[in-house]
Amino acid sequence: MNFLMTLRIAFKALNRNKMRSGLTMLGIIIGVSAVIAMIAVGSGAKARIQEQIASMGSNLLIVLSGSATSGGIRFGSGSVPTLTVDDAKAIATELPSVKYSAPVLTGISQVVSGNQNWSAVTYGTTPEALLIRDWPVVKGRALTQADVDGRAAVCLLGQTVADNLFGEMDPVGQVVRIKKFPFTVIGVLALKGQTTWGQDQDDTLYVPLTTSQRLLFGRNFPGMVRSISVQATSAGTLQQAEEEITQLLRQRHRLRPDQENDFSVRNLTEAMSTAQESARVMSLLLGAIASIALLVGGIGIMNIMLVSVTERTREIGIRLAVGARERDILYQFLIEALVLSLIGGLIGLIIGVSASQLISHFFKWPTLVSLQALLLSFSFAGGVGMFFGFYPARKAAKLDPIEALRFE
């Protein structure tokens, strides 16, 4: 018996009982579409995190002030500045594994332009900070060393700030008031998007470090900064840079061996990779849960195939009597189960892909449907059909011709 004929018989048998075949397929349809949608949600999250890692800048280390115990009270990182501008310079000049470093002062400040006002994260830093983050300007110009040296009252606006203060207008050359001090806008930064934790990276301002020290944040702790951004020369030297920075700063801060660090070095790429890993695990978990639906669908197939074998005992007897071999009967029922599961799989595929599109459209959740996931879930559906169809098919094939013919 050749494959095409067996296939035709299978379609005929399934067609004969449309309602039943449809309901049986439903299990597989739900299973496959759930698997696809869940994997799409998971991979979407993963892809977004990956994008964000790239947007943060590569091979990035952040050195934060604090994390030291002083008088028995543990301060959070960065709460008491312990890092100096000179520390930042030393890191850049003395360590071969470091490409750039930039001292950073941070705070939230009120920005006013005309009758518009807005609060934004404000960074007082050097031109390297934007190089480290690989963040170009799209309008105007970037910060320069001359701005820093001359304590120029200039600022760069993130897209969100620019939009909120100026709308369609070109902000370059305009004057804004930051904490009541007038600053000239010299440029607008390119769009970055959100961080993993949902923070808008474009809701930001950059001003020269020196200016911020004088006007905005630096008055309580002169010459000190909250953090230093560092870019290692490559991914390979990231670890080395982390160790060298720790060593250098302990030296510079004259810490005795028994003293804790009064700073901390954070590897952001690593943190993001952890986030990425958890997204991957989530995606696997969601897929696994959805697979259970698929397995339940398989049990439905098995159930219906068993009923079908019983109902068609006489037909099997007739086929055996005219010369069908065991394997002819086995294939016939196996292919029937396979057709059920693959058609169900195909419909599930379409529904799963549409569901993913709907999820990203209505819930603003990024989804990613990969060809791999489609192939995987489709072949899984086939596998389920084979697995759960095998027992009923074997039962049919093992029937005794005489008893099958006598069956009422």
């Binding site: 004929m5 007897g317 005219v322 010369g323 005489i402």
Partner: protein, 252 residues
Amino acid sequence: MNFMNDLIRVEHLVKIYYLGEIQVPALKGVDLCIQSGEFVAIMGASGSGKSTFMNILGCLDRPSQGRYFLEGTDVSGMTKDELAQIRNKKIGFVFQSFNLLNRTTALENVELPLFYNNTSSRTRHHRAMEALTGVGLIGRQHHLPSQLSGGQQQRVAVARALVNRPSLILADEPTGNLDTRTSLEIIDIFQKLNQQSQITIILVTHEQEIARYASRQVIFRDGKIIQDLSFEPRQAAYDLTQMPPPTEEAIP
């Protein structure tokens, strides 16, 4: 008697059915030889073991003891697949209850055995049409069994038995569900196959009326052969001409 010339030779055939603890001996030692080209009627009361015997001859069942040689080959030792091949190629089986596939046309029913030996679809169609022509059913090939009379259904079954051009036809009470005239028409087909194509026919019946068209009558009682005689057979074709005109359903 030349051993190799026997189409069928059974030696001390025993078949015991087991119903739980109870043993039901259906055949209690049957010896029989049938030559190629014979037309044998097997007779006997209900429960005497005729069907059991036929099922073994048809390779649908295996004996509990004894040996069965078909064309000189011992069938008892064959695998299931080999038995399936024999059922497919060498033997055509006709049942009392027709055993056609419902919801499947006459043509496809006749084609069925050819599905299981990889016959091309053209040859399949050709051979099935030829077989349907042989039993006088041309024009009804697209009818479903439910759209055919009992006699016509049995003709489809005969065509199916013939489609692989077997040398042996086994028929277990093929006329049991048919009226006299239709029965005679089926017997006529068998007789023509036997006389014109030298196909060996073994036919179970409990009616003497039917058995007298065979050239040999073997009578079973209680799982054993009690009589085995040869006769000059009556001719079904002639007897048909002597019958009242056919009812409308009997002839296509």
